[in-house]
Amino acid sequence: MIEINQLSKVFRTEEVETKALNNVSLTIKEGEFVTVMGPSGSGKSTLLNIIGLLDSASAGSYNLLGNEMVGLKERGRAKIRKQQIGFVFQNFNLIDELSVYDNIELPMVYNGVAASERAKRVEEMAERLGISHRLKHYPQQLSGGQQQRVAVARALINEPKIILADEPTGNLDSKNGNEVMELLTDLHANGATILMVTHSDYDASFSQKTILMKDGMILSEKQQNKNIDIVVNS
């Protein structure tokens, strides 16, 4: 589903040039649940952002569902984002001015789903995530866990091919965090492809594969608690 080959990302300022990603190669198959771990500044978020088409690579190739993404224009990226990708963020990133219902509905609006269909799907999704009674509320009126559920609902509403989660439990207490992880596991069990960035070993243990990054490079890939050493390119 995702094939990344020799991908690099360089941030330039006037004085310094930082390689946030250094020739990273990675493959994620359909239905996989992959975690990316690593210290701050290791490039894991950058990788996630590039995969989510929020950021672009400096070099290398990124193939999503058989199409090359490097060099794609913003219009095309927006189209793929809205159709194929669902995002879950550490800080939820809900729109405070919109109600829970409107927040969940928004991706469908951009996808041109008919209004009646949208209403049906929002109801179903809210039911599934246990937030039906909160649809008329605004994000600021909800607890962190509930907000993250809304964010997950929003990420799933378009039935994306891949879910990208950037430290989804980072702002939650352990109980709410657990609930969110269980939610993601359920989704995975139902066939969703998930790529998650986290600091937490515990969260990572829910996934099938853990990628460890440092200094913009992939140090190791760990498959279900089994270490596989890979060649480090330099």
Partner: protein, 800 residues
């Protein structure tokens, strides 16, 4: 504390240089406009303010019937008033126009423009300061009083008193030199006393309304009772004898012809009063004054709104500062004071900048108003201080109160950046700005349309290549002199036609006379003409024929009337009908198609045409020659005419001519000026409003950057985002526009009511106004929004 405030103020300025600058410019422009309006206002209100008699002196205006009011009175009225009541102290007859004639001193010749002919009591009514001589003895037989300026022109630095000058064929002794102390409804360069003779000649004539009349009341409160006294006099002296002559009872006469009545207007009200005045310096234009003041206040309000909007929007950024201040003990009052202080500093700068602008623009403004306004005197400075205080209070208090009411804890917890607090105030003000801008766009378009209509209107005559040349009278045989001049002119190459008429375009006839036809009483313009004038002006005779040298009777008993007269006569077949006109029997030989004699603000009047020689006294009104010139030889021909004129016609006075089209255009010059003014203000208003919109959209979009980033992440295309961001402004634009429809319609209809010949307000200005406003709105907002959609979403997703 002040130091702290100043520090914070400049810190904030540094951080938003662009907006502060625009704010400053906006406020300055607003203040500049207001200062201009105030200068104009002060000038108009200073008329006669210096005059100690302004409350007691009244101008007598005579109502002849419902539609006709004359500024002139009959000679016996003054003495009769004094006989009839002790409430009137004195009267003063004067000609309510100026002569413009040469005055000679030794070998020197000076053209004195404003020569007033008045009774000796004039200087009690206009107590000018006498530099030489005194006001009591200045006027008498063969004596004159002159202004300081005239004295300087005639005598240089020599004493003027008792010098003898030659004026109008007589030797006159200068018996007084006066200084005019301020704006005055009469500002003569020279005053003569020749009126006494004409008054004597007309002492018993109750029908000759030839003289301007001022009366002085002992107590201005007696105005109503004096009016009653004069009305009674008219009843006794006019209605009773005239009705007897006609074989009617006074009641029947009044029933048929209406009543004579009188109006009195105090000198203090003459300049801006509602009653038409005949005093020679004319009247101000109170409607235009109000328009100016109103518009300038609107502009200032607009810039204040900008300021308040930006200050409250900015205040959100400053919420933390305010929160901290409150925690360490600042009271609400203290915080409001801080904002007032900041507004005060900015206002000082704005006023300073405005004064610079005023100085720069004042010459143009004076040109436009045809005035000589200057910034001086305590009045304008005290008004500036008032503006300053109002500005500080109005512009400073809203943001102050708004900020002072922030909830401290909420602010410090940091969630405030996206608070909706104050949004309604700002949006409301934005809507108001849209409304004002729409008002200007639509309004100026309507004004533009009316002016265009006036300049393109078919006036019923064709004045192309026709010039009017002033023919000064040197003896009583005016018509013979004219005939000689005409014959000579026709010999000049390029002169196609020459004729004359005793009327002026845009001015009307030199005299009017009433006549009766069956039961209808008609007050017609006396259009004495020479042969060929109507043809020269392309005015068609639609029935009957024009006067012609082929018919001897055409200088004895023939007349033409215009369509308006025919309508008033209610006569289906006017040709051949006889009319008793001032004792002469005239037969109608033709009907002239209506044409605009006055400006387009007035109806086409009833006009009667006859050859000047038909009525013996008509030639005394002859003071111009109309010449039609070949368009290709215009310049040379005019030069030739001038040479001829200066050599053979008038060696004393300079050659004066004017194209009649240009002369007619002066009747609506004032409105052309108003259109230009409106256009300039339009640009100013739209700029200020758009700046406000830009600033507000910037702030609002800045606050929504995270939302934009989220939407973008969810796959919103640029188009989706642009729609999301600009939708609300378009809605505000529409609301503002709708709000303005009624006021524009009402106010512009009132303005259009100035004109008899006017456009009706169509839907077009509204459509155009809306499109322009919506387009400008979209350009500003979309420009700003597009920039917002270009940013890196990651910045906002992560770090907020």
């Amino acid at each position: 504390m002040l130091r702290n405030w100043v520090h914070i103020f400049f810190y904030n300025i540094k951080n938003s240089k662009f907006f502060t600058l625009l704010n400053l410019i906006g406020l300055s422009i607003g203040i500049t406009g207001l200062v201009f309006a105030i200068l104009y206002w002060n000038d108009e209100h200073s008329y006669n303010a210096w005059n100690s008699q302004k409350e007691k002196v009244f101008e007598v205006i005579n109502g002849m019937n419902e539609n006709t009011e004359w500024h002139t009175s009959v000679a016996p009225l003054g003495p009769e008033i004094i006989n009839s009541t002790d409430k009137v102290a004195s009267y003063c007859y004067l000609n309510d126009w100026y002569f413009s004639e040469n005055v000679y001193y030794n070998d020197k010749k000076e053209l004195v423009e404003n020569i007033l002919n008045a009774q000796a009591s004039f200087f009690e009514y206009f107590p000018f300061e006498f530099v030489e001589g005194n006001s009591e003895t200045a006027l008498g037989d063969n004596t004159i009083a002159i202004s300081e300026t005239t004295a300087k022109r005639l005598f240089g630095n020599e004493k003027a008193l008792n010098k003898i000058v030659r004026y109008s064929g007589n030797d006159m002794v200068v018996k007084g030199v006066y200084r005019i102390l301020g704006k005055s409804s009469i500002r003569p360069d020279m005053v003569t006393n020749k009126i006494e003779q004409s008054l004597k000649n007309n002492a018993d004539s109750w029908g000759n309304y030839n003289f301007g009349l001022l009366i002085k009341l002992n107590d201005p409160k007696d105005k109503e009772s004096v009016i009653k006294t004069i009305d009674d006099i008219y009843y006794r002296k006019k209605i009773v004898p005239v009705s007897k002559e006609l074989g009617l009872s006074p009641e029947e006469f009044i029933e048929k012809y209406g009543e004579f009545y009188v109006k009195l207007q105090a000198l203090k009200d003459v300049r801006l009063g509602s009653i038409d005045s005949g005093l020679p310096e004319g009247q101000g234009n109170p409607q235009f004054l109000i328009i100016m003041l109103g518009l300038s206040i609107l502009i200032l309000v607009l810039s204040i709104v900008n300021y308040v909007n930006l200050a409250t929007a900015n205040a959100i950024k400053r919420a933390k500062e305010v929160g901290v201040r409150k925690i360490i003990g600042a009271s609400k009052g203290n915080i409001i004071c801080q904002f007032l202080f900041e507004t005060a500093i900015l206002s000082v700068f704005a006023i300073a900048l405005a004064m610079v602008l005023v100085e720069l623009v004042l010459p143009y403004y004076n040109d436009f108003l045809k005035k000589e306004l200057v910034i001086q005197g305590g009045l304008i400075y005290s008004q500036l201080i008032t503006i300053f205080i109002l500005l500080v209070v109005i512009a400073g208090i809203f943001p102050g109160i708004y900020v002072a009411n922030f909830e401290t804890l909420k602010v410090l917890r940091g969630n405030f950046g996206r608070s909706k607090s104050g949004v309604w105030l700002r949006n409301g003000m934005l809507i108001m700005q849209f409304a004002i801008a729409a008002f200007f766009i639509v309004g100026s378009y309507i004004v533009y349309e009316q002016v265009k209509f006036m300049s393109e209107k078919d006036l019923g005559f064709n004045g192309d290549q026709v010039v009017e040349i002033r023919l000064r009278r040197i003896n009583t045989k005016v018509f013979d002199r004219y005939t000689t001049v005409k014959n000579e002119l026709l010999k000049i190459d390029g002169v196609k036609e020459v004729s004359t008429g005793v009327f002026g375009f845009g001015e009307g006839a030199r005299s009017t006379s009433g006549f009766d036809y069956k039961d209808q009483s008609i007050q017609g313009q006396n259009m004495g003409v020479d042969y060929g004038l109507l043809e020269m002006l392309d005015v068609p005779v639609i029935e009957g024929r024009d006067i012609s040298p082929d018919f001897a009777s055409d200088t004895i008993s023939s007349m033409l009337v215009n369509e308006t007269v025919v309508r008033m006569m209610k006569e289906p077949e006017p040709i051949g009908k006889e009319i008793k006109w001032n004792g002469t029997n005239l037969k109608i030989i033709g009907v002239v198609k209506d044409f605009n004699l006055f400006g387009l603000t007035e109806e086409i009047p009833p006009m009667v045409f006859f050859h000047i020689k038909t009525i013996s006294w008509m030639q005394s009104n002859l003071d111009k020659v109309y010449v039609k010139i070949d368009a290709d030889k215009m310049e040379q021909t005019l030069a030739d005419i001038e040479t001829f004129w200066n050599k053979d016609v008038d060696i004393e006075y300079a050659f004066e001519y004017e194209f009649i089209n240009k002369k007619y255009a002066r009747t609506y010059e004032e409105y052309v000026d108003q259109r230009n003014l409106f256009s300039i203000l339009n640009i100013v208003v739209i700029s200020i409003a758009l700046f406000g919109l830009f600033a507000l959209a910037s702030y609002s979009i800045e606050r929504r950057m995270k939302e934009i980033a989220i939407r973008k992440t969810l796959g919103a295309s640029t188009k989706d985002l642009l729609v999301t961001l600009s939708k609300q402004y378009l809605v505000f634009c529409i609301i503002g526009f709708l709000m303005t429809i009624f006021p524009v319609y009402y106010l512009l209809s009132t303005w259009l009511d100035n004109f008899v010949f006017r456009i009706s307000i169509s839907v077009l200005p509204f459509i155009i106004g809306f499109i322009v406003l919506a387009l400008l709105t979209l350009i500003v907002v979309l420009g700003r929004a597009y920039k917002a959609t270009r940013v890196d979403v990651l910045t906002y997703l992560k770090y907020e």
